[in-house]
């Protein structure tokens, strides 16, 4: 019997990776290539989409060679991608219009303020579930249209196309200028501010509000569905899934039932909770977003709590303070002491994200006494990630009415045992790490495999999920309450630090 596999393409912020998975969801081969980060001005971050495409042209065949797998053995391709990164390209030549504007880019801040001041601004969050912020794509599309002479006219005639990274890769894989398919999926379209959360289609009022011509937009498709067949790089292979990276991780963690949640711990961290077939409007500072949509089935919605600084605080401890020489050593240093010694660090480096959304807040270290050593600071660094998770979980419980029972975790920071125990302690629920840490790639592979029948159903995918480690809460409830109170008082002290412009 010929073995068959699924390939995932993870087009991330710093690199593009191809991973081949087998039928049991086990990793067979990995190839990866980084692309350049362009910082042309303060606050600007750009990627060269042509370079990203060239990288894929190279690493996809390499992944096949490494695994000893032929094209005919690939059942499907699934794509996961960095979300909200905005790109335009010429339909006839396939040339990108300048560089892609990356999700971290804040060049649209004054534009966003202008939009927010308009009387109909409240409609944005009602229709698309997301607040008006530089984080999302629509203001970037508008910025590009405003800053390239003649671009708007070409966009209106459909000569110039908009897409996030999955659209760009699918268009190129399916032929580019020669009949390339111009489409996106609900999870990515849902991050533009232009998609109506109920109809899952572009919303005319939102298009008017942001001044974006419909002709340049891709068709919105489900996350798992055979979109078409690749004609380049992986000719003949079906392209059968696309999801934003955090939604892909939700899928890879098999959070298929309402109330199931995952948190991906990286530079920043993203907690996502499956809320089922109805979008839950947040009154506690969370984002309402599409989790995934499989074929003709109804979309599954999610609440998302992005935390800006988690792993980045450990990196700062290493690079900014030089107190450790590698990130994992934070645990070694933290274990030199019993507790935080009364010290708390709130890493509001560029304001606070969920659930506070305070852009004027800045970071603090509070509770310093002559007793505090670098070991206590290391504890406070790890606890900052745990408490920030707790705040988002509390907001999710309040918004959804679902009580979180277990937190599934993934990402680089899950190798830190002390942190994982801290999280279990402060959440008072078990924290579980799955055996495949590459949940983003796995999620894209799962969705693609599901679409082509490589895996029969969601239950089949669940059977592939195995627990690699579990941390159980072991904290005295009184101490938990007291520490949480201290944390909250520390957070309050970060507010109103940056003075408003006169």
């Amino acid at each position: 019997m010929v073995m068959r596999y699924v390939m995932s393409i993870d087009q991330g912020t710093t690199s593009t990776r191809c991973i081949i998975f087998d039928h049991r969801g086990r990793l067979v081969s990995v190839t990866q290539r980084e692309h350049r980060q362009h910082f042309p001005r303060p606050g600007w971050v750009e990627h060269d989409a042509a370079q990203i495409w060239r990288n894929l042209e190279r690493i996809a065949p390499e992944a096949l060679t490494q695994a000893g797998v032929g094209l005919d053995q690939l059942a499907a391709i699934g794509i996961a991608n960095q979300r909200e990164t905005t790109l335009m390209w010429d339909r006839r030549t396939g040339e990108p219009i300048g560089r892609a504007i990356v999700w971290q880019d804040t060049r649209t801040d004054t534009l966003v303020e202008k939009f927010a001041a308009r009387p109909e601004a409240a409609m944005v969050q009602e229709r698309c579930g997301l607040p008006l912020a530089t984080y999302f794509s629509a203001p970037r599309i508008r910025w590009l249209l405003d800053h390239h002479p003649g671009l708007r006219e070409r966009a209106e005639r459909g000569e110039v196309l908009f897409g996030t990274m999955e659209s760009w890769l699918i268009w190129n894989l399916t032929g580019g200028p020669e009949g390339g398919l111009h489409l996106t999926d609900v999870t990515n379209a849902g991050r533009t501010l232009l998609m109506n959360l109920e109809t899952l289609d572009w919303d005319d009022d939102l298009l008017d509000f942001f001044g974006v011509p419909r002709a340049m937009l891709p068709r919105i498709r489900p996350s798992a569905e055979t979109y078409g067949v690749a004609s380049r790089v992986l000719p003949g292979v079906r392209i059968a899934a696309a999801l934003g990276d955090q939604q892909a991780a939700l899928f890879g963690q098999t959070c298929f039932a309402p109330g199931e949640a995952k948190c991906t711990y990286g530079t920043g961290s993203f907690l996502m909770l499956n809320t089922g077939a109805e979008p839950v409007r947040s009154s506690h500072g969370l984002l309402t977003t599409v989790g995934y949509q499989v074929g003709d089935e109804p979309a599954v919605y999610a609440l998302e709590g992005p935390i800006a600084i988690t792993g980045a605080l450990v990196q700062w401890f290493r690079d900014g303070l030089g107190l450790i020489s590698s990130a994992p050593e934070i645990e070694t240093l933290a274990r030199t002491v019993e507790d935080n010694g009364g010290c708390y660090i709130v890493p509001a480096f560029s304001g606070l994200f969920a659930p506070h959304w305070r852009s004027e807040a800045r970071g603090i270290i509070v509770g310093l006494t002559s007793y505090i050593t670098k070991g206590h600071l290391a504890r406070a660094v790890l606890e900052a990630t745990a408490w920030q998770t707790r705040e988002v979980v509390d907001a999710m419980n309040a918004d959804s009415g679902l009580e979180l029972r277990t937190l599934k975790v993934d990402g680089g920071m899950t190798s830190d045992n002390l942190l994982m125990q801290d999280i279990a302690d402060v959440l008072n629920v078990p924290v579980v790490r799955p055996m495949v840490a590459e949940t983003v790639s796995l999620g894209a592979a799962y969705a693609a495999g599901l679409a082509v029948g490589y895996w029969p159903d969601l239950e089949g995918l669940r059977r592939n999920w195995h627990r690699a480690a579990q941390w159980l809460p072991a904290m005295d409830p009184r101490r938990r309450a007291e520490e949480y109170d201290n944390w909250r008082r520390a957070v309050e002290r970060t507010f109103d630090w940056i003075k408003p412009h006169p």
């Binding site: 899950t414 045992n417 840490a437 195995h466 480690a469 579990q470």
Partner: protein, 255 residues
């Protein structure tokens, strides 16, 4: 608190003296320079030589700093760093073998479990990171002993603690078993620690090939071993592949 230990102070003075001198020094020169009796200097040098901090030139009989000193700063590997580097490979090993995976390092004559991946059958299991295991009765430990003469020497007085009827308790037997491990590059343990349990482990090497830890699987003896009581060949291959992959990652990096 007791005062400073004189012999360590004197040993440090000898190292400083050798570090300052351009060539090699004889035992007489060292004794004179430091105001020590010749016999005392000789005893100190013998000990420093044993741990590899000084080397003696065979023809002239003079002393110089040993190679072990040079590696002293670079051979240190943080256990949390080790876990972070090994986590993907340990997961893959558990997924392929179907058994629980542990990574161990040496701590005060015992094995410290620095990483643990559950057996992938979703039964209730408890994380035992931080647990200490005996060296002579586990595959993880025997691998480390096989590449650590100094720690093995501390066990030479025997007898070793028996956990089961099959635990190796005689130092001579252990030495034979360790030399067999060095020959094949991996270790097996069958019901030497717990009745009904077996394990296979291989060394993780860091910079310059120095063994910094061990990675292994353990589980029910009927799953790990064949009918002749030998570990199943595919499992041994999985363990060795994982050990090599982690070692490659560690060796390729700069510390």
């Amino acid at each position: 608190m007791p005062g400073p230990v004189q012999s360590i102070q004197r040993g440090a003075a000898i190292l400083r003296l050798l570090a300052r001198s351009s060539g090699r020094l004889g035992v007489g020169e060292i004794a004179t320079s430091l105001g020590l009796a010749r016999g005392t200097a000789h005893g100190l040098l013998r000990t420093l030589q044993l741990v590899g901090f000084v080397e003696q030139d065979e023809t002239s009989g003079k002393y110089q700093l040993g190679a072990a000193l040079l590696h002293l700063g670079t051979s240190y590997l943080d256990v949390n760093e080790l876990r972070s580097r090994a986590i993907n490979w340990a997961d893959a090993l558990a997924a392929r073998s179907g058994e629980a995976v542990r990574i161990g390092t040496l701590l005060d004559g015992q094995i410290l479990v620095v990483h643990h991946v559950f057996r992938p059958d979703d039964t209730l299991q408890t994380l035992d990171v931080g647990a200490l295991l005996p060296m002579h009765a586990t595959a993880l430990g025997k691998v480390l002993l096989a590449y650590d003469a100094a720690t093995t020497a501390t066990l030479a007085d025997g007898p070793l603690e028996a956990y089961t009827r099959r635990t190796i308790v005689a130092p001579k037997m252990l030495a034979r078993s360790l030399s067999a491990i060095r020959e094949v590059g991996w270790a097996v343990e069958v019901e030497e620690m717990t009745i009904g349990e077996a394990g296979v482990a291989a060394p993780i090497r860091g910079h310059g090939g120095l063994v910094v830890g061990s990675i292994g699987i353990s589980g029910a003896v009927e799953r790990v071993c064949d009918s002749k009581g030998q570990p199943k060949a595919p499992l041994v291959t999985f363990v060795r592949d994982a050990a090599r992959a982690v070692s490659r990652d560690l060796g390729a990096s700069r510390w």
